[in-house]
Amino acid sequence: MLRKLLKYDMRAIWRIWWLLGLSAMGLSVVGGLALRILNNSGEQAFPAILEVFAGLAVFACIMGFVAFFIGSELLVYYRFYKNLFTDEGYLTFTLPASRAKILASKTLNACLWLVLSVLTLGACLIIMLAISGSLADFPTFLKFFFDGADVFSLLYILLLAVEGIIILLAGSWVSVGLVHFCITIGAVLAKKYKLLAAIGIYYLLNMVLSFVLQAFMILGVFATAGAIEPLFSALSETEIMFFIPLLLALIAVIVTSVALLIHYLILGKLERRLNLA
């Protein structure tokens, strides 16, 4: 059932998302050409008005990318809200699927579109830079980076990359979970203006979290900056080689635990507190 739920969730988003994605790709072509004009303005004499338009086009392009990302996110979260907490919720919850599966489908859907949006933005950036001619030296850079690397080093880099990707995926799960959590709490607390309540709760939660995290980060940075040098200078190369992947694994476990906790909190609210009546 999860597969079916996910299929329909993804299809619903795809219906509008592909237009946004295509627009972003189109914008990247325009932005690349504009950037090319700006890059070559020293060698070729372009009319001043063209350079001004090129600058504006690059700016519009970046704004377009931001709009694409925000638009993608809004699509996903609005579907979550509409499917579960409006009148449509009556229909959704009559489906032969548990609330856990419905939430899993929504969460997977949101994470997938978040990843796809980021990948699309990356592709747009590459297209833009390739057209503008800024990537000419990239193959040389890659050759320099990987030249002389033995199999062991490549495997080590692969391990770090895999851990990094797991952390990023778990991080996107946390960010999706936080938005879902706020929408759920907003819908549970407020009878009307549920979206407004969700936005308020999200703002409040974000503020509290950023305070706590900042305080912790400042303390952590001070402590680490002050203590890391004497601690690390005592480590051998082998110890550092073990330390880095272990640290990344720990971060991955911490982020996954947080994501899972948030997920279970939402599920608890959906299963026991939600009342659409």
Binding site: F222, V253, I254, L261
Partner: protein, 330 residues
Amino acid sequence: MKKTVFYRVLLLAVSILLAWNAFLLIPSAESPDAPLLDWSITPNGLTLSDGTRTFSRYTLPTDAKWEPILSYYVFDAGDTELHIKGTESYQSARIASPARDSEIIFLQATYIEAGIYVTEDGKTALDHFFETRENGSYRLARGAYYTAPIDTETALSLGQEFSEITETDVTQLALLERFSLVVYDKSGAIQWKLGDLYCFENGAVGYVDYKMLNNSHFDAEGNFSYRSGTAPVILLPSNIADTLRASAEQIEYCEPDYEYEAPATPFINFLPLFWTICIIIGYILPLILLLLGLFLPRSKKRGNPKRWYVIAVLAAIWIVLATALILILL
């Protein structure tokens, strides 16, 4: 009724947020026109005050200088704004005092000639030093910062009259290895050059005592001149020469013989804080999760036990990884 309550709560939340944002803006509205400084000086530049103490300008003997050994030079008020008394104006200044003596300070300001300011005690100490040279420390110096201490008895013995004095061409002296004999006052910041020592190729050590020279031996800056003419060189007895040579071999870049801890940058040992954070992140947080994961499945209210067991497993992996990292760091 419920709607009203919700509106009120929302309004309260928005008000708190706006108030908090306004609070965050307060620092940017702070007026830059009111520097909270205590340093002030009279318009004629003769009296300086730090708010609690008053310093008077002190005129050094012409052959003495404010030239502290590098490490003694401590800026108490690095770049500061100095208030000109009786006016609304300020000027930028650097105020320095030797770490050993806060009775004597040095002022370098934009429009007031640089100079030394002393409290009553500082004035008494400096007057006494210039009259008797007591409480001073004697050093052999090469260049500005390479020095070696010599004992007072040896230093004072150089000033005694010895029988063998030769008039030597100063251009020849310029070619020899030489050291200055400098006496610093108690603060270590005011130096008084007493003479120069020359090491001859035959092993003899000669001393040119500035007291025996007249104005023609010095340039406009007050430094011994090697341009032309002769100077009286006292050939030192071999025992004193040996002592001085031994001291000269110990000349090194000056290091302070005390530990000065500037109050602005106190040394903090961050290791306890680092380990505290490690313990909190590595053990206390996952332990809470582990306990929740193990005990909440027994509670009927708290839903699906399988979910809590997953949390408990993750917390256990968390603790194991943290332990491995801490073991590597230890």
